[in-house]
């Protein structure tokens, strides 16, 4: 076995994992705030990226103006979602809320394409997606500088959000809301406001993910599918943990790439579609709440 190739795969995997984590964080935010699995996160990623390039195309704005404009759009979207979808659904079973987010996903996908068309676009960030020359020259290992920067951005986001949850009273209130909407309302937690803020934040996180993924893969409908890549990350890390998202991302990214390269050829390849899920599943058998998820209380 070629050891430098092994490392190349490993590092590539870890960095892809960070990209997954970027999307997974958005899920975690919403899950923590409402106990809801937000299926529309992928659609929001798509919406954000498409809005950004759409603004640049239609109004000829530069990227640096388009980004703030997109932020505004995402915040409005978040607030609107709270007002129209979530507020009437307070205290409904989680499954109903989950379904509502599926409906939301459709709506957002349609809206995005109605506004900006179904064309695919390129999105150029001022970071080039080329191998780091230093590593390539000295170790013959390929690491894209784009990925490294994405990893840094992701790291910052994780730290900020983790602190927000751990250290502030809002963080505590969010956990309360996820446990019991009714009781949270009863103690005076302004559920609606918190949700609105959180969805707006999730929108911004989606925007970051959308810009990075959009620059990587082009801005197109398929951005909605990266949610599927983020899911195993989420289950492995635990739905409720921001650091879990990143750790889960690293594990999933690395093992999926290693599996595809080393196991794939033995079984006909193309296993990346299910391998992360199976891995996460096996892991759950040992820890049903994921790595850092909150323990599920079952008691009578």
């Amino acid at each position: 076995m070629n050891i430098s190739f092994f490392f190349e795969v490993l590092i590539g995997g870890l960095l892809s994992g960070v990209m997954y984590a970027l999307v997974a964080i958005g899920f975690v935010l919403i899950y923590k705030a409402s106990g809801v699995f937000n299926f529309a996160q992928g659609a929001m990623v798509f919406f954000a990226a498409l809005t950004c390039v759409g603004i640049m195309d239609k109004f000829g704005l530069s990227l640096w103006l388009a980004i703030p404009a997109t932020m505004v759009a995402m915040i409005i979207l978040g607030l609107a979602i709270e007002r129209v979808v979530l507020r009437p659904l307070v205290n409904q079973p989680e499954i109903a809320l989950f379904m509502a987010t599926i409906g939301l996903a459709f709506f957002i996908e349609g809206l995005a394409q109605l506004l900006w068309g179904s064309q695919v676009h390129k999105l150029e960030l001022p970071i080039e997606d080329v191998p780091l020359q230093y590593l390539l020259d000295n170790f013959n290992i390929i690491v894209s500088q784009f990925d490294v920067i994405a990893a840094a951005i992701c790291g910052v986001m994780v730290i900020v959000l983790a602190l927000l949850f751990a250290k502030t009273k809002v963080g505590r209130a969010l956990r309360a809301v996820a446990d019991d909407h009714q009781a949270a309302l009863a103690v005076g937690i302004p559920l609606q406001r918190i949700w609105a803020v959180l969805w707006a934040v999730a929108g911004l996180v989606a925007m970051v993910a959308g810009l990075l993924w959009g620059a990587r893969n082009g801005v197109q409908f398929a951005l909605t599918f990266i949610a599927l890549k983020a899911l195993p990350v989420l289950i492995l890390g635990g739905f409720t943990s921001v650091p879990g998202a990143i750790v889960g991302g690293l594990i999933i990214g690395a093992s999926e790439k290693l599996a595809e390269v080393y196991i794939g050829p033995l079984v006909g390849g193309g296993i990346e579609g299910w391998f992360p899920y199976v891995l996460a599943l096996l892991f759950l058998l040992v820890r049903p709440e994921g790595l850092f998820g909150e323990k599920i209380i079952r008691r009578i």
Partner: protein, 280 residues
């Protein structure tokens, strides 16, 4: 129970703190639960809301605190006023800020949070300094020493009674001026029940907190309350000063379990009002 009829009502203090006027509530579009309930709580008083299972006590309290919306219940008639302001359209958060807190029936602690975190969420609407928070916590711990012992456990893993204390303590953390208490004594050991009512009386006299108290333990409730309403099948069937109610023959018989000769033994129930036997 057709023997119960409203006794001539005695109007409580003229300026009610909380007043519920002729509300009608429907669950799920079809189940009519409250059929025109009116009641008043004067400032600084303890009012007990009594009645059999399913009479609509909890529903009344949830209507006041606007938590009904989350349970597919609709208020189809009537209005609720607190401090002279209509509150039916406010959010619970705004109510808590105005000083109206509810302790829900059936505990409803945040299972994944520790007891202390549960209590802290209670203070969400108040912006307190660390020291003030500490003080508020200590006060609750003073009332419920058991909570102090268990402060670091996740509420989901504490005993039923501990959760009940936690729920009450959590409401106290908001420093309300009016508390809706739904069955505070449920699942609580007798001497703690006394303590809880002691606390109620304490807050009432020292801090002028008003209470609306839904309670099954009629004996205790009437001992501490100033005024009482009896609800049956979604209607107020009787109301009056607490001591009057306590001396009413019907109330004695049906709510206090006393017959002419004093308290009946529960063992005698075996022969009392036996309607049917179990078919083998």
């Amino acid at each position: 129970m057709t023997t119960l009829h409203a006794v001539p009502s005695i109007q409580p203090a003229p300026q009610p703190y909380l007043s519920v006027n002729n509300i009608e509530v429907i669950y799920d579009h079809v189940i009519l639960v409250l059929k025109g309930v009116s009641l008043q709580v004067p400032q600084g008083k303890i009012v007990a809301l009594l009645g059999a299972n399913g009479a609509g006590k909890s529903t009344t309290l949830k209507t006041i605190s606007t938590l009904l919306r989350g349970e597919r219940g609709d208020v189809t008639k009537g209005e609720v006023q607190f401090k002279g302001e209509r509150i039916d359209q406010l959010t619970p958060n705004e109510l808590v800020k105005r000083g109206l807190s509810q302790v829900m029936e059936g505990r409803h602690c945040f299972g994944h949070l520790t007891i202390e975190e549960n209590l802290l969420t209670g203070a969400y609407t108040r912006s307190l300094s660390r020291a003030e928070l500490r003080e508020a916590l200590d006060k609750v711990y003073h009332y419920f020493p058991r909570l102090k012992e268990r402060r670091a456990s996740q509420a989901g893993y504490t005993s039923g009674g501990e959760q009940q204390m936690c729920a009450i303590g959590r409401a106290l953390m908001a420093k309300p001026s009016m508390i809706l208490l739904d069955e505070p004594s449920m699942g609580i050991a007798p001497q703690i029940v006394d303590e809880i009512f002691g606390i109620v009386k304490d807050l009432n006299t020292k801090e002028n907190v008003s209470f609306l108290l839904a309670e099954q333990n009629t004996m205790v409730a009437l001992r501490y309350a100033d005024f009482g309403y009896i609800l049956e099948n979604g209607r107020v069937v009787m109301e009056g000063a607490a001591d009057e109610l306590a001396n009413n023959e019907d109330v004695k018989e049906f709510y206090l379990g006393m017959s002419g000769a004093g308290r009946k033994s529960f063992r005698d129930m075996k022969f009392y009002r036996r309607r049917k036997r179990w078919l083998a």
